[in-house]
Symmetry: C2
Subunit: 207 residues, 2 copies
């Protein structure tokens, strides 16, 4: 094949994969992780079963790929926005505020993450949590319990944002409560909440 | 029919229903709320499809009944244990500690509640939360966000308790963090954690 034909083929293949992943995001967001069948995704993406199997072996493989795509995309864009922001409480708090802003702008994504996300690729927020504990900025008898409370609370919030109309300040309120849960000094919490939200969170739907 | 025969029939019917609900608890705990089919429950309960349909019309009806049974049973036993305990922080904190103790003693129940529970029948803890806010014992910019954080955190904790071996003090640590999230005074948190756990939480598997 010529270079040109190979490039065209590769681009078409990437477009089809993106189309399957976007359809999968919607299907998993609506039905949860366990119920969807390949036919649901095939119908939502408007492709044939044969085409589906060119890209993924099973619903499980598709779920894993959709999670990886979503994680990479959201965590990376927050990491980018936080470049240059110093201090675990400020980084963690602003990261949460950005995460909720993203959720509000894309309810399907929010529902997907809330219902389905296998938690993975969370090295970035976990690093801030660990650093906060080390430095005594956060206080918790058990780091595991601390992570579970925040993770579960964020998940519950994403489900709410993804399924109903929430007040614009809802995400900020939840961020404030998470910081309070972590035992953060009230003055530091106030500083996080008054801080301007960093930019760099572009809408980019393509995987 | 004679009174005797009617009584025998009713008792048998109650036993069968209990058997279906116990099997359903296990099936939903393992597979989540959306995946199970009637055949899964029928197999787990060791009954026929016909018998199943004498009691429930659908998997959805069964899920609702299993949730109602679980809620009634757990919330009522905690309410009983808390009779005579005064003050929203103490009641709420001890209620959480009892809830996690129950979860630890019954991992299937814990997994079921964590994965499946449609939150309902939570008037008891909600009353303590509201009273705590009214009295200024708890502090939160948004009662909705406050409820979501705690509810999500508790759910995440139940999943962990139901799927792996947690440290005996894990439930207490999570309770402490929840109270911290609610903005409770540290001395009051210490009082909750040092308080003896009230009794009245009997294991009762029959619905």
């Amino acid at each position: 094949m010529s270079d040109h034909r190979m490039r065209v083929g590769r681009e078409r293949s990437e477009r089809t994969q993106a189309r399957i992943l976007r359809a999968a995001l919607q299907v998993f967001a609506d039905q949860g992780p366990d119920a969807p069948k390949i036919d649901d995704v095939v119908a939502a993406a408007g492709i044939s079963r044969g085409t589906f199997y060119n890209y993924f072996d099973s619903v499980d493989a598709l779920l894993a790929a959709t999670c990886a795509w979503t994680t990479r995309e959201s965590i990376e864009s927050i990491e980018e926005a936080l470049a240059g922001v110093e201090g675990p409480a400020l980084r963690y708090g602003l990261g949460l505020r950005l995460f909720f802003a993203r959720a509000r702008s894309d309810p399907t994504w929010s529902r997907f993450v809330g219902r389905v996300w296998r938690v993975d690729g969370l090295e970035l927020p976990d690093r801030d949590l660990d650093e906060g504990l080390d430095r005594g900025v956060f206080r918790a008898a058990s780091p595991t319990a601390m992570r579970d409370l925040v993770r579960g609370g964020v998940r519950e919030a994403l489900l709410r944002i993804g399924t109903e109309r929430t007040a614009p300040e809802y995400g900020d309120h939840l961020t404030e409560l998470c910081l309070q849960a972590l035992g953060t000094d009230p003055r530091l919490i106030a500083a996080v909440m008054e801080h301007e939200l960093p930019e760099g969170l572009e809408e980019d739907e393509s995987p």
